[in-house]
Symmetry: C2
Subunit: 327 residues, 2 copies
């Protein structure tokens, strides 16, 4: 009789997450089997998260799981894809307690219900280092419909969903351990801990957006990726960057505040460009998806990203060169 090792326990913990996916083969096999709908292509994305870098050791384990999954779903959303499922590779410190893992698995279970997806497979291993996970999310969309980063053209209008900067403000609040009696602070902390991937908006923007991505590095840096891959220049109006009331209550709404919001990252909103004759269609799509979108600038010929104040002067974004070595 083989003994029930710790890894067997972990398998038993994660197996129920795969029970609704016949192709996952009960995660008892080495591989998962996935059939794509006719006329569809596969979209696949992977993200690694490290404790102490992407999340804090004290973060609730169920929210760590849900954020890890949502970060990947957000990538799929920005491409216009619908999620099929995900794989989880987990490197686990030997000291990790089973109750942490149970809560971690329950977070996946919760979001599987919300997003109607399943665990498809995975691998668990020990590590002498921090807990590290890599999630690979699989999605599908009709052939030829993927929204790329590289499609922005001069003359397109730039939009972003939701509000920007909340997550960064939330991390600041959590890190400084400021008392959070204030509902603004509670809201911002939640925006950091549990981003809302814009799945319905992403699907709605198929055939409408010329380029899109999800805002993870910070709006400025991410629009820089569109500028670079599309070979265009991005001009943004600082006054139009959507800031939440909570964000304004904490940081104000002056140029410094806007720069902070557009460089703090972890927003998981969708930034996208739309040709002039498709703007109405984009607004209708956003309304159907019940997602707020805001026009924030224009695509021009040239290169780079510029943030302009009310007078049209370029804001000297001190932290614009800021790159996340740690992310």
């Amino acid at each position: 009789v083989p003994c029930l090792s710790e890894f067997e326990l972990i398998k038993q913990l994660f197996a129920p997450l795969a029970k609704d996916a016949p192709g996952a083969l009960g995660v008892k096999d080495d591989a998962a089997l996935i059939a794509l709908p006719m006329g569809h292509e596969l979209v696949v994305t992977t993200d690694a998260l490290v404790e102490g870098v992407h999340f804090r050791a004290c973060d609730p384990p169920d929210l760590v799981a849900r954020k890890a999954l949502r970060v990947n779903l957000s990538d799929l959303a920005a491409k216009g894809a619908e999620p099929l499922g995900y794989l989880l590779a987990l490197a686990l410190p030997a000291t990790r307690r089973l109750d942490w893992l149970e809560a971690f698995a329950s977070g996946f279970a919760e979001d599987q219900r919300q997003f109607r997806i399943s665990l498809l497979g995975g691998d668990t291993t020990a590590t002498p280092g921090p807990l590290t996970l890599a999630i690979t999310a699989l999605g599908s969309l009709p052939t030829g419909q993927m929204i790329k980063r590289s499609g922005a053209k001069a003359g397109d209008h730039i939009f972003v969903s939701g509000t920007i900067g909340d997550s960064g403000a939330g991390l600041g609040i959590l890190s400084e351990e400021i008392p959070r009696a204030n509902p603004h602070k509670e809201y911002l902390a939640q925006r950091y801990l549990l981003p809302q991937p814009r799945m319905a908006l992403g699907v709605g923007l198929r055939g409408i957006a010329s380029a899109a991505l999800d805002v993870s590095d910070g709006l400025l840096a991410d629009l820089g990726h569109i500028a670079e891959t599309s070979g265009v220049r991005i001009e943004m109006d600082a006054a139009h960057i959507p800031l939440s009331d909570a964000y304004r209550a904490i940081h104000g709404a002056d140029a410094v505040s806007v720069v902070r919001a557009t460089t703090s990252g972890d927003d998981y909103e969708i930034a996208f460009t739309v040709p002039e004759d498709r703007i109405e269609a984009a607004r209708v799509a956003a309304q159907s998806a019940q997602t707020r979108i805001t026009e924030i600038g224009r695509v021009c010929e040239g290169n780079g990203v510029v943030l302009r104040d009310r007078n049209g002067n370029e804001i000297d974004v001190l932290r614009k060169g800021y790159t996340h070595f740690s992310r």
Copy 2:
């Protein structure tokens, strides 16, 4: 002008690995796009590897990359799938030098040529812990043709490709830093550092093997997985376990030596079961794939795995309960 961060350098290092895959979008996008051939299904598998656990800090970086990739290709092979490409999630200590990474990337480049696949996407992040990588490999096969673990039936014959135990012996030699003037030792060390996934054999066994998996935990433990998921008992003849001349030269070929070989793992051979009336077809498939296969036992009703000596007596496998918490 944004500064060229360390992560940009890394991107530049890995971008050429994706140049032949249009769907990888030059790894400049968040996601890769993959079209499946008509009438095919997707097979997907993920494995995490941690420095100090799955490979040694002193292992040549190109071989670390190639083994990480091959471990995943081996999973695809055992399912009968042909590889489409892979994603790489990399958690990198800040102290890692660029020349290590260059050699690491060159290992992927080498095996991409050998296996005719491309990098499809990835994610690089910093870690305060050991270098950790997760590879997700994607493959395809005609719909309905995947070879599962769960298909073994009483009466089937059990086969394994190549020889067993070489990799474990190689790790022992490398760990003990015994001088390796001896060509046997060189061969065994190579078997550990650079396993040979049995891609052609796997494809050839479609429609022939009733169950299959690649030997990673050790032949005994892995056949235990087939026994469990198929609901059968596995009976193996110790005298038939294929041992290389090099392995015999180091460890001999008595019962202790066979137990060592079947519990050491990391072989990346394919173990599979074949119904009696398909044995000739399996031998023809192996010959076409230019891969040696050996019959090692029979599938019976019941459960568990048994190793029998020449007299038919059960060998008391002291280390049979051995499970790799560290793998």
